[in-house]
Amino acid sequence: MTLHVEVLMPDRSLWSGEAGLVIAKTLDGDIGVQAGHSPVFGILSPGSLVRIREVPGDDNPGDVVRLAVRDGFLSVTDDRVSVLASSGQLSGEVDVAEARADLESATTDAGSSAAAEESPEVRYARARLRAVGEQA
């Protein structure tokens, strides 16, 4: 039993394929989707990371695809998972230097450190760094 996963952007499809587990963060908290999950439509937490794995569980071989999402939704129906990202980047597309620079400027823009925690820009820059396995 596998899930059919599609990662969609408004102007193109970023990735599609079979997977065993999708881990995402909605406004309600972390959600893990495996085959047989009940239909859910959730708002993804702004600036969060969506991870798609071949096999369920925390063991290797690890994530097939990691996606940093600026804004988006998660839709689960009948073993089909759609990640709808109005803006987002796959781990392969992330420019580390650019993400770092964005993180710097977004942190400065936010002002206080408490505001920086809330700022979607800061969180999106961090999610992009985490997508490529960088410290953030």
Binding site: P10, D11, S13, T26, L27, I31, I43, S75, L84
Partner: protein
């Protein structure tokens, strides 16, 4: 060379170069139309998923009182977004869209609804400026290759007007004077409805101007079993239906506008291809006729020269014969 022949040859040169230009335009449009159709296909899955989700939310809970879903109590003012092209050479494409928008404006006037106009594409902007119709906001520069960012820009302006929030930037000539009724002093006109006038891409040969209402959503009360895409999924919404709807609808509007822009771009290119093909064919026909005319003129010149020579030599011969 005679004067007539010279004139015809000059026309042939002119028609030839016009034909070259229209032929080039036709080829450019043909190659771009394929990419435009690919972009439409690429954008389709996202638009479909969002539409399905919106339908699911709205159909599931009958008690929704979201302003973007419920029918407005008063139709005091309506925003109309008109999608036209930036460049001409595309036959009646813009005229069709603008005629449709004029009809909508007239219908609004009859119903006592003030129309606030939003225009994308320089042809539409020029059309409104020439007729002194105030335009609330205008955009141009992306008609044949729109990006999602362009659509988002347009969607934000429309959603601001719908919610009555945001800055009244009023880049257009008319500023915020678009709606006479309900227009706040210097502020943004709050609109009750948003219409979209654009062109539907039916096929390479057929494009149809169409008016659709973006907001509030028109909910089709079709029975579940008769839906074309099968029954809607019985979603559980996180965190709640209201929150999901709040987040979903702006994205939905942006996505609808984006898809309409892509369709309009494909339609524009198809219309241009057809218009330019007709122009090239006409130029070739004209060229055939002019070539024949030029040949006639040349032949007439030769005939005249020959008869002049023959006449001249005859006269000489007669004169010589007379003197002997």
């Amino acid at each position: 060379m005679g004067a007539q022949l010279r004139a015809v040859r000059a026309r042939i040169r002119a028609v030839k170069s016009i034909g070259k230009i229209t032929r080039a335009q036709e080829l450019i449009a043909s190659s771009r139309i394929i990419r435009a159709q690919q972009r439409m296909r690429a954008a389709e899955p996202y638009a479909r998923e969002l539409t399905q989700a919106v339908e699911a939310v709205v159909s599931r809970s009958s008690s929704i009182s979201h302003p973007m879903v419920t029918e407005p109590e008063a139709h005091a003012s309506a925003a109309v977004l008109i999608l036209t092209s930036d460049s001409g050479f595309c036959g009646a494409y813009n005229a069709n869209v603008l005629r449709e928008s004029a009809r909508l404006r007239q219908r609004n006037d009859e119903n006592g609804t003030a129309t606030t106009t939003y225009v994308a594409g320089s042809k539409g902007i020029g059309w409104h400026r020439f007729r002194d119709i105030p335009v609330e906001r205008e955009w141009s520069g992306f008609s044949s290759q729109p990006t999602y960012a362009d659509a988002e820009k347009v969607a934000t302006a429309l959603l601001d007007a719908f919610s009555g929030e945001g800055e009244g930037e009023g880049e257009g000539e008319g500023g915020g004077a678009g709606g006479s009724a309900g227009g706040g002093a210097g502020g943004l006109t709050k609109v009750d409805e948003i219409y979209l006038v654009s062109t539907e891409f039916v096929s390479m040969l057929t494009q149809r101007p169409a008016v659709t209402r973006l907001l509030p959503l028109e909910i089709a009360e079709a029975p579940e079993s008769e839906r074309p895409g099968g029954p809607l999924p019985s979603y559980e919404f996180e965190p709640s239906t209201d929150d999901v709807l709040d987040a979903l609808l702006p994205q939905y509007v942006a996505s609808r506008i984006y898809y309409a822009m892509l369709e309009a771009a494909a339609s524009e290119l198809a219309a241009r291809r057809r218009a330019m093909k007709a122009a090239t064919d006409n130029a070739n026909d004209l060229l055939d006729r002019l070539t024949r005319e030029a040949n006639n003129a040349r032949q007439a010149e030769i005939t005249q020269e020959i008869s002049e020579i023959v006449g001249g030599s005859n006269a000489l011969a007669e004169a010589n014969a007379g003197s002997e």
